[in-house]
């Protein structure tokens, strides 16, 4: 799936009716099966960018296109994952992951079968009937990831999916994310504030300016795949990470 952002900009309205520019204008392209990480200072409009791509936030000017089609509503090939797991507390793990299938009108037997096959990959097979309140933060995010995978999307939109987790869990989940993606390679756009995470996961790292976020740097990460956790000690990795850090710091942290 090719994605194109053309001078995409989003403004919010202040309480007094004034215009508050939140994002852009920003332009870049993402080619099929590319893994792009977006980094930038907090409040720079990264989440707004993801929401615009997901069709949840109409742009004030410019366009986001998917295979040449303007994104003006949630579109079929996209699935989004939020910083918060956003699970329904009244649904079990099984039913939370099956939710997209239920909304798509798939029969109960079929959707349970699909989800039950998926659970082992997420290491959740023992928690099928648990409720979200009984899960740790990491497990909740796995459920949320499962809810993305079950939609079988062509594009994953990840909005700081592991931002609320502790460092160890985050690293573990990041690598699981890569592993899960490898089974059926997808286009991924992921927002993160963690430079190491971005360099380790992505094919390209896009650095955004302070609010309203514009493109400052577009860094190609030519580390070999599969990526492994000890790569973070490679010179190449460190060079790239340094470069991204420098780009961010040039904004005047």
């Amino acid at each position: 799936m090719r994605l194109r952002l053309r001078e995409l900009a989003v403004d919010f309205r202040g309480p007094d009716g004034s215009r508050l520019p939140a994002l852009g204008p920003i332009s870049f392209e993402v080619v099929t099966e590319e893994f792009v990480c977006v980094v930038g200072p907090s409040g720079c409009g990264k989440s707004t960018l993801i929401r615009a791509l997901a069709g949840l936030q109409p742009p004030s000017s410019g366009q986001a296109l998917c295979e040449g089609e303007v994104i003006d509503r949630p579109m079929q090939p996209f699935a989004i994952m939020f910083q918060d797991a956003n699970l329904m507390p009244w649904r079990t793990v099984l039913d939370n992951i099956a939710l997209p299938l239920e909304i798509a009108g798939i029969s109960r037997a079929e959707r349970y079968e699909t989800v039950l096959n998926l659970l082992p990959q997420l290491h959740l097979e023992r928690f099928a009937l648990a409720y979200p309140a009984e899960l740790s933060g990491g497990m909740s995010q796995r459920v949320a990831l499962g809810r993305v995978i079950v939609q079988n999307p062509r594009v994953w939109l990840l909005d700081e999916p592991f931002g609320a987790l502790d460092a160890l869990t985050r690293e573990k989940l990041s690598l699981e994310l890569l592993r899960l993606r490898q089974r059926n390679v997808q286009t991924v756009i992921m927002v993160t504030h963690d430079i190491s995470e971005a360099v380790l996961l992505a094919d390209r790292v896009i650095v955004m300016s302070r609010r309203p976020g514009r493109l400052v740097a577009d860094v190609r990460v030519d580390l070999p795949r599969p990526r492994l956790p000890d790569m973070i000690f490679d010179d190449k990795f460190l060079q790239l990470a340094k470069r991204v850090r420098a780009d961010i710091e040039s904004l005047g942290a």
């Binding site: 929401r51 997901a54 069709g55 949840l56 949630p74 079929q76 996209f78 699935a79 989004i80 939020f82 918060d84 956003n86 329904m88 507390p89 009244w90 649904r91 939710l99 997209p100 239920e102 909304i103 798509a104 409720y131 309140a133 009984e134 939609q151």
Partner: protein, 270 residues
């Protein structure tokens, strides 16, 4: 060594007894109240004319049960309550949902609704009787009016309380309006709405009985008045306690529904 073992055991035993006492304490409180009542009437600290002894109330209960008066009037009141609840809660849900969705509607309706709510029902119950007749309709309407508000407010609170993030998530799943309601809004608002329903059930008996006081004929409110007019204070108490029981039973029923449907909340609180 042995001593230590016993000492280790003791706190646990006490904790156990404490837990049981805690569980039994509401029953003990009711028991104490009954004992106090028995004591007062036995010593005749207050005249039997004002506070008849429990035994007299029990006899009145048995008699009214035996000759069918109590079940007859209780059924009338119960029926009025149920229809009133159905009507009031139904309208409360519908209007509450509409208001939650359209803030403008709240702006328009707020003075009327708050005005109705802040006016004591007894004050305008006679009007309801003139408008809706002295039959069961006026009592059903009185009940509906009184149970409407908690149902309305809790529906608004429940629907407004739906997480905006979950709404976004549902939108990203391309959920339609009905699916949004069925899979997100309804289950999310259910705990608050059930809490409102609990309040409504306890109020329902007030509505029905106020209506029965205003226009006589049948029902527990009528039984109170007619017993009072025959100076049968034990029967008055029987009728009042029957109202309490009906109210508590409905409350219990809603709690049961809550228990059944909100498994996740119970598990979450563990």
């Amino acid at each position: 060594m042995g001593k230590t073992a016993i000492r280790d055991h003791e706190p646990e035993l006490w904790a156990h007894i404490g837990a049981w006492l805690r569980r039994l304490s509401p029953i003990l409180a009711v028991g104490c109240l009954l004992l106090l009542w028995q004591f007062i009437s036995e010593r005749e600290l207050i005249s039997h004319i004002l506070v008849p002894p429990p035994s007299a109330v029990y006899l009145a209960f048995v008699e009214a049960l035996g000759d069918g008066r109590l079940p007859k009037h209780a059924l009338v009141t119960l029926e009025e309550m149920l229809y009133g609840l159905l009507m009031g809660v139904g309208i409360g849900l519908a209007v509450g949902y509409a208001i939650a969705k359209l803030p403008l509607l709240e702006y328009i309706l707020a003075p009327i609704i708050v005005g109705f709510q802040s006016t004591p029902i007894v004050a305008y119950a006679p009007l309801l009787v003139i408008w809706f007749g002295s039959g069961p309709t006026s009592k059903v309407v009185t009940t509906a009016v009184i149970v409407f508000f908690p149902s309305l407010v809790n529906t608004i609170v429940g629907i407004r309380g739906v997480s905006p993030n979950l709404r976004d998530m549902m939108r990203s799943l391309k959920a339609g309006r009905w699916q949004m309601f069925r899979h997100l809004e309804a289950p999310s608002a259910l705990p608050v709405i059930l809490a409102g329903l609990k309040t409504s059930t306890t109020l329902a008996v007030i509505g029905a009985v106020v209506g029965e006081f205003v226009s006589q004929g049948s029902g527990l409110g009528y039984l109170v008045t007619s017993a009072r007019n025959l100076y049968d204070t034990p029967l008055v108490i029987v009728a009042v306690l029957t109202m309490t029981s009906i109210s508590l039973s409905l409350y219990g029923l809603v709690s049961l529904v809550e228990w059944r449907f909100l498994v996740w909340q119970r598990r979450s609180n563990l």
